[in-house]
């Protein structure tokens, strides 16, 4: 990114245009790239989820639109966008309208610091990890807003659950990555990736990976931790009252969060883009998609926890495991 700005500045200087413009142009380009990356990956993911779930359930899934239903999602998007946009009469209008954006935006922002390649990152923040831990949790506010603003009791229960769940899963998630920071000695995601050139962190800290991955499932609202949606009891949870394009935004946010979490797991524990023969971008994508397939596989295999059991697991299982991982990581850094 910095090199891109410098290159642009070099071009513009000839015409006497200040560097500020170069920054603005670079930011716009980066935003467009991130949005298109998210858009494309969400489309691929929805298709992948439908196909994988179908084959898990001995069905075929979408087959009509395009080869093996590859264009099904375009049709779906078209359908969702052209649907009537319903805002319930008694809803808290502004809160209701804003909520889907507040859920989606943090997922997009999280992509800023993900180093697909050491040269291919928007911002190499020196507090990158801290940024990643804090930004996506903003989306829980969006979920509460959606639950509260809908003026529906089911939504309210979903929003309440989301608040409780996100707050308690932040803690094991943050604890699990501290081990990585201890190894690398840096919060910068680029440094973390380059620190794994020899050996991936997952080999030293399998527990850390497990805790991070599990907590990420809860952060992304995926089964077995999708209590805020809980379609069996809460109909749709916080998005019960949403329809059309706004519902599509929630859907997009869920997948964007999933991609962000899987990408971060790759960066933290699976060595980012490191690999042999193939370029690092390809390796990065392979790893991310392998994790995503795992998430989808879990989604279509397991039942859902009850919210109170969910809390139990966070506080009684994941937090102790993360602390054990921390102790091991400490011992390893001290003696090896």
């Amino acid at each position: 990114m910095t090199s891109f700005v410098n290159w642009l500045d070099g071009l513009l200087k000839v015409r006497g245009i200040p560097i500020l413009y170069a920054h603005v142009v670079a930011a716009v380009v980066a935003g467009l790239v991130i949005f298109s990356v998210i858009g494309i990956s969400v489309m691929v993911l929805v298709w992948l989820e439908r196909k994988i779930s179908a084959h898990v359930q001995s069905r075929l899934g979408p087959m009509r639109v395009g080869p093996h239903g590859a264009l099904q999602l375009l049709a779906d998007i078209l359908k969702l966008i052209t649907k009537e946009d319903i805002i319930p009469a008694k809803a808290d209008r502004w809160v209701f309208v804003l909520a889907p954006f507040i859920v989606l935006l943090p997922a997009v922002l999280a992509f800023l610091i993900i180093p697909i390649d050491s040269n291919l990152t928007v911002r190499n923040l020196n507090v990158g990890l801290l940024y990643f831990l804090s930004i996506p949790s903003i989306s829980s506010i969006g979920l509460i807003m959606a639950g509260w603003g809908s003026r529906s009791k089911y939504s309210l229960l979903g929003g309440m659950r989301a608040a409780a769940q996100f707050v308690s899963y932040e803690i094991p998630r943050a604890l699990s990555v501290i081990g990585v920071v201890m190894f690398t000695g840096s919060l910068s995601t680029v440094a973390i990736v380059s620190g794994q050139a020899r050996i991936w962190h997952i080999l030293w800290q399998p527990l850390g990976f497990l805790v991070f991955f599990t907590a990420s499932l809860a952060e992304c609202n995926r089964i077995p931790f999708d209590c805020p949606e809980g379609e069996a009891e809460l109909v749709g949870g916080f998005h019960t009252e949403y329809s059309g394009a706004r519902f599509a935004l929630f859907l997009m946010a869920e997948y964007a969060h999933m991609v962000a979490a899987c990408a971060m797991a790759t960066v933290l524990f699976l060595g980012g883009g490191s690999g042999f023969l193939l370029p690092s971008v390809v390796w990065f994508l392979i790893k991310v998609f392998a994790l995503i397939v795992l998430v989808i596989w879990i989604r279509w295999t397991y039942p859902r926890f009850r919210p109170d059991q969910l809390m139990d697991i966070s506080w009684k299982v994941l937090v102790p495991l993360a602390l054990i991982n921390l102790a091991i990581a400490g011992a390893v850094t001290a003696f090896i």
Partner: protein
């Protein structure tokens, strides 16, 4: 000053977890259920009143619609009552066909419940597996009577069609197919850690409460009461078969699900024995009149359906139409325990408990 108050939500009549049209009025303290009041009657079609204006044989199609997941069993319960009332004998072969078909229908009903139990807990995939397996039975039924859901198959003094060629082989094939599948689902769903966590110690129904509420079927046996009409008050030819009655111990939701799993295995056992020993002969008692006019009197017959006891009570005034026709549905009594077991639990428990009691609202409301 922060003030808290109970909220009241209506679960249903349109809700993914109520499997039909149950309206459950829940008073909630946060997520904890303070009080649960079930409201029924959204699918009331007045079948019992309709019955008074139809002849006896015109009533058989109505019984299909009482509980659409096991219409063969309903047919059978009704036919048994009329046979008792009018003293109609049933040929040997017809009894065997009834047992085979009835047990297949029990398997179907339990398969659906199994899928639903999974779905209530959030596991979607098991539902598709169960529905896939159900298709095999529907194909068998289609071979026998041409219909797939509402079969209208059992007649007074027998059944309407004989088993077609190849049915016995296909039914055996199905038994061989299903047995390993049940083992697979047991590992996939029943013994799944999360499923056990969701269902163990949830919705506990004590032996006494189960009896006092008139619960029957897997709900009663899940609480450990050894009561199955096939053993305790044998009807048809059930005394000839070798099978066991699976019993639960704690009476929680998981035990009810486990009882159903076991019952599928036992049903397969019965079907195998019946297929091996089915005799040749008439499928319906010859020489029966077209229009049955039983002597004035009354009769009550009951059989063990997948959901419990199906009882049919008929009062005849000597005409071609019943004077009074009453159907005792198992689901109605079973969901009566809802206010009792739901108190103090959480909203997600309500979903799994309703699934565990396995009501079919067409049958509850009639």
């Amino acid at each position: 000053m922060i003030r808290t108050e109970e909220i009241q939500i209506n679960m249903g009549p349109q809700h993914p977890a109520t499997h039909g049209v149950l309206r459950l009025e829940l008073k909630l303290d946060g997520e904890v259920i303070v009080e649960a009041i079930p409201h029924i009657g959204y699918l009331h079609r007045g079948i019992e009143k309709m019955a008074e204006n139809r002849t006896y044989s015109q009533l058989i199609p109505l019984t299909d619609r009482i509980d659409y997941t096991c219409s063969m069993v309903n047919n059978w319960a009704y036919a048994t009552a009329v046979e008792k009332l009018a003293g109609i004998p049933v040929p040997e072969r017809a009894e065997y066909i009834r047992v085979i078909i009835g047990e297949l229908n029990r398997v179907v009903s339990h398969l659906v419940t199994m899928g639903v139990n999974g779905m209530d807990a959030g596991a979607f995939t098991i539902w598709f597996y169960c529905i896939r397996d159900r298709e095999f039975v529907w194909d068998l039924f289609e071979m026998v009577c041409g219909a797939r859901l509402t079969h209208n198959f059992v007649r007074f003094g027998g059944v309407s069609f004989d088993l077609p060629d190849g049915f016995i082989e296909k039914a055996r094939e199905f038994c061989d197919y299903l047995e390993p599948k049940v083992d697979e689902y047991e590992g996939f769903l029943l013994n799944n850690y999360i499923f056990v966590k969701r269902n163990r110690e949830v919705g506990v129904l004590s032996e006494n409460d189960a009896i006092n509420h008139g619960a029957t079927g897997p709900v009663l046996r899940g609480s450990g009461v050894n009561w199955d009409l096939r053993k305790n008050a044998p009807y048809s030819i059930y005394d000839r078969f070798d099978f066991e009655i699976p019993l639960g111990t704690t009476g929680d939701n998981w035990e009810r699900a486990r009882v159903r799993f076991e019952e599928i295995r036992q049903s397969i056992r019965i079907i195998r024995q019946a297929l091996n020993s089915i005799p040749a002969g008439d499928i319906v008692t010859p020489g029966l009149p077209r229009l049955i006019k039983p002597e004035p009197g009354e009769a009550y017959a009951r059989i063990e359906g997948p959901r419990g006891e199906y009882g049919v009570y008929i009062v005849s005034d000597g005409s071609a139409k019943p004077y009074r026709w009453k159907f005792r549905s198992a689901g109605f009594s079973n969901i009566c325990v809802l206010p009792l077991v739901l108190k103090g639990l959480r909203v997600p428990d309500a979903a799994v408990i309703i699934g565990g009691l396995d009501p079919c609202f067409a049958e509850v409301d009639r």
